[in-house]
Amino acid sequence: MDRDSREEINTATKHQSWFREGAMASWPICFGYIPIGLALGVLANQAEIPVWAVTMMSIMVFAGSAQFICVAMLAAGASIWSIILTTFVVNLRHFLMSSAIAVHLSSLHRLFLSCFAYGITDESFAVNMTHFREGNWDHRRAITVNQLANFAWVASTTIGALVGQLIPTGAFGTGYALTAMFLALLLFQLHDAVYILTGLLATGIAVAWYLFIPGDSYIIGASVSAATLGYFFKRCREKRR
């Protein structure tokens, strides 16, 4: 067999297996989304958000933590604008992820990029970046990961909202699901001393802000000021070296 035809066969098998490989890479995400999605659905139900609205939110927003915050804020009677603004700040981190993954998606059609952007989450970003760095990964495998995770999210939040009608408020520790998820996500973020300091600052500022200033501006206020202080700490430390 000459080199050209062998390469052709290799490309052909590559094309056939892109969906399977994408699915294999995405199942841990999907599996992880199920309990969180169910918990969100149950919480939404307890906050008296109808099932159709939960499905609608999962399709239109597709952002786990922002959706939890939205449910919590709706339950606390927050205004629509403050929820949208909080969502924006919470999801600003995707800006960084989108910039980082863009390097691996150059010379693709802009329509594809616009569709791909919808599926960028903390989890799909982490999985796709790991595979892109290892090589043998492409845009079709990557968007398969995004969209299967999206499907698992929409399905599990909807099921959670349906099942939630059968579960009394706060049963089985559902009231703690959000807190536990934030704790785990926080832990995965603590890469070095700068992150730990930023976290401590944010905690202190948020408590003080929460106690003295009414409303829910403490989320944006504490996170933006702690990140800024943390950034200056990092710069001072780098200059001293």
């Binding site: 989108s98 926080l186 996170s223 990140a227």
Partner: protein, 107 residues
């Protein structure tokens, strides 16, 4: 809230989520962000998560006063240890819920 209220809310949230996902991919495909912005943005997730957790763990949210040693805080300790050991998001959620539920049954 009626259908239109939800449509407006989720439309706004969707746009606020989609734009940061879309803009860099669409326009900055091969350009680099300024380093200060990358550094600052990388601290945002930690800061937000702590800002969200702080009142839950350290305050009484009905009276809006300081409250140390809440069950939420005590349960957070074994939950965090589980997260350190397993690195599992789904598992940590289930363990946290289970422990919080147990705490409610016992005390």
């Amino acid at each position: 809230m009626n259908f239109l209220d939800y449509l407006f809310l989720f439309g706004g949230m969707g746009l606020a989520t989609y734009l940061p996902r879309w803009l860099p991919l669409f326009y900055l495909a091969n350009r680099n962000l300024p380093k200060w912005l990358v550094d600052w943005l990388s601290l945002i997730p930690v800061a937000i998560l702590c800002a969200l957790l702080a009142p839950i763990l350290f305050t009484n949210q009905t009276a809006r006063t300081l409250e140390l040693g809440k069950p939420e805080f005590i349960v957070a300790i074994p939950t965090l240890i589980f997260a350190v050991k397993t690195k599992s998001l789904g598992g940590t959620v289930l363990v946290g819920m289970g422990l919080y539920w147990l705490w409610g049954l016992l005390f």
